[in-house]
Symmetry: C2
Subunit: 321 residues, 2 copies
């Protein structure tokens, strides 16, 4: 007899924390949400997280069917089950999320294992359990949002490395004397190929070149991902150049990661992907150009198969597998 | 009862092929060598390899103690047991080394498993079985010779990736508009941080700058690793700058590989390492500068513990574990 099982997936974000009860096929049976930023004291926040977990377990007909709890969190450390110095959270320092939750839940009679990792690793596992990477042994997941994250899968397992922080393709250097990155170094992929990087490229091109552009007609504050996208869609040369640069830097970072781990595919996920071929077309071109010869014409770039609105919860839930 | 075991390690090089019978502690009990380049027909060469293997098995008191045969070879593919398009061998195309040897040996009554990979992966496994990486789960081996090779170990296993060609840190791009690499792309680590790259840096600096240097007194053909090393040892500014550039480019490539796999240590091996602190001092400095903040001051750079003259045989022998 095959018994059905359910996972609890938790997506911790700076603004909200989402919860989902997920079946084996990746259907979210029940979900809820709380405001992360309304809490100033971390214990208060975690106690409310526990309340939500209990709420979810009640939605399950048989509590013994719950495999465990998976959490995707910024700066999440898989080995320690901690969130460490996350810049977007109200809670400073190191938060022992796994230990706190497991102990409190045990006190309430629930023996549930908590597994925690960062958002990009969770996205990679989500793709592997519920998405386009089912049964795939070697692939890379790239998440393109405010920052650039990545999850590296080797031999069917996410690479956490020695300290639990592996998979930072966004912070590989692709232009040694290049643009300042938020991390304090120069020329990281993230400095160019995040939404923030795209905006910086636009501002740089507007001030350093004389290229004609409709973006010159709007105020600097209003130049963001959406404005650049809209301009590029109308054929604006400068806006198109922004996507070219975003694509080129990301392509080099991805090709370098390929040289290290030789994946079958690279999946892409996140806000920037919505720009479609404006990004994907130059990305595919520069990616092939940047690949070492033995990897050329072998590695597909593919958009994540997971629904954007559910991916974070599914990624977290997939950690229980 | 613990039974002793022995491995046969074979190091295939363009000039010679070395053979060794190796015990569990990494002692080479018996060794031999044949000339690779004297063979034009691959079957003749492989038949002589078999003769040498049989010779080695006779040196072992009990043939059942032989674990298997490991081979380190240029362009070696672990999954297929092939050597593919190796530029330094007389034999073109794809050579099915594993299949050929296993079948012929079976015909002679020897049921020995052949495991083959490239030199750098073999060096990584050698370090793990016999050298400084015993029991280490996550590390990187960098080999600095005519080219730059690497072996990546994640979770106690060498990363071969989807196609068996993973671990090409030497062919990651660290300067997108940089120097032409032998692989046809621009700005690879290998274009700068191999012995060949060091020489190119010297020639470039000699022709593009006016820096005073004792290297200006010797002919271009005589400017090689040794001449640059000797000049640098005497405090020659230009020669020292060559090592700085070699170190900086390698440091960025290593830091990028760290961001992908988060190793505990990086081991270094090969001819260039003999330059000692001329390379290691700037390498350590630039490596720390190039590391993403979460990895800083955590990762030791260490010279391989294996004796240079035995390392290739030991690396190959370690493949049988």
């Amino acid at each position: 007899m095959i018994m059905e099982s359910y996972s609890i997936g938790i997506d911790i974000g700076g603004t909200n924390t989402g919860f989902g009860l997920v079946d084996e096929k990746g259907n979210i049976i029940f979900n809820s949400s709380i405001s992360t930023k309304s809490f100033d004291i971390v214990e208060d926040y975690l106690d409310e997280v526990i309340n939500q977990i209990l709420l979810l377990t009640e939605k399950c007909d048989d509590k013994s069917k719950i495999r465990g709890i998976g959490i995707g969190a910024p700066n999440g450390n898989y080995y320690k089950g901690t969130i460490e110095h996350a810049p977007n959270l109200n809670f400073e320092g190191i938060i022992y999320v796994k230990d706190y939750l497991e102990e409190k839940l045990r006190g309430k009679g629930y023996d549930l294992k908590v597994t925690l990792t960062n958002d990009a690793n969770a996205a990679a596992i989500g793709e592997m359990i519920y998405g386009g990477a089912k049964g795939m042994k070697n692939f890379i997941m790239i998440t393109l949002g405010t920052g650039v994250g990545s999850g590296i899968v080797v031999d069917g397992k996410v690479v956490y490395g020695n300290d639990g922080f592996a998979g930072e393709v966004g912070h590989t250097i692709v232009q040694p004397e290049g643009r300042m990155c938020g991390c304090g170094r120069k020329g990281c992929v993230e400095a160019y190929s995040s939404v923030t990087g795209l905006r910086k490229t636009a501002l740089e091109l507007l001030s350093n070149t004389k290229i004609d552009s409709s973006l010159r007609e709007i105020t600097q504050e209003n130049i963001g991902g959406k404005a650049i996208y809209n301009a590029a869609r109308s054929g604006d040369t400068l806006a198109l150049k922004c996507f070219e640069i975003t694509a080129k830097m990301l392509a080099i970072g991805m090709a370098n990661a390929v040289a290290v781990t030789s994946p079958e595919k690279i999946f892409l996920f996140g806000g920037l992907i919505k720009s479609g071929n404006l990004l994907m077309k130059p990305l595919k071109k520069y990616f092939e150009e940047s690949l070492f010869v033995v990897f050329q014409n072998k590695i597909d770039l593919e958009i994540s198969h997971l629904d954007e609105n559910k991916a974070a919860i599914l990624g977290a839930a997939a950690l229980t597998y």
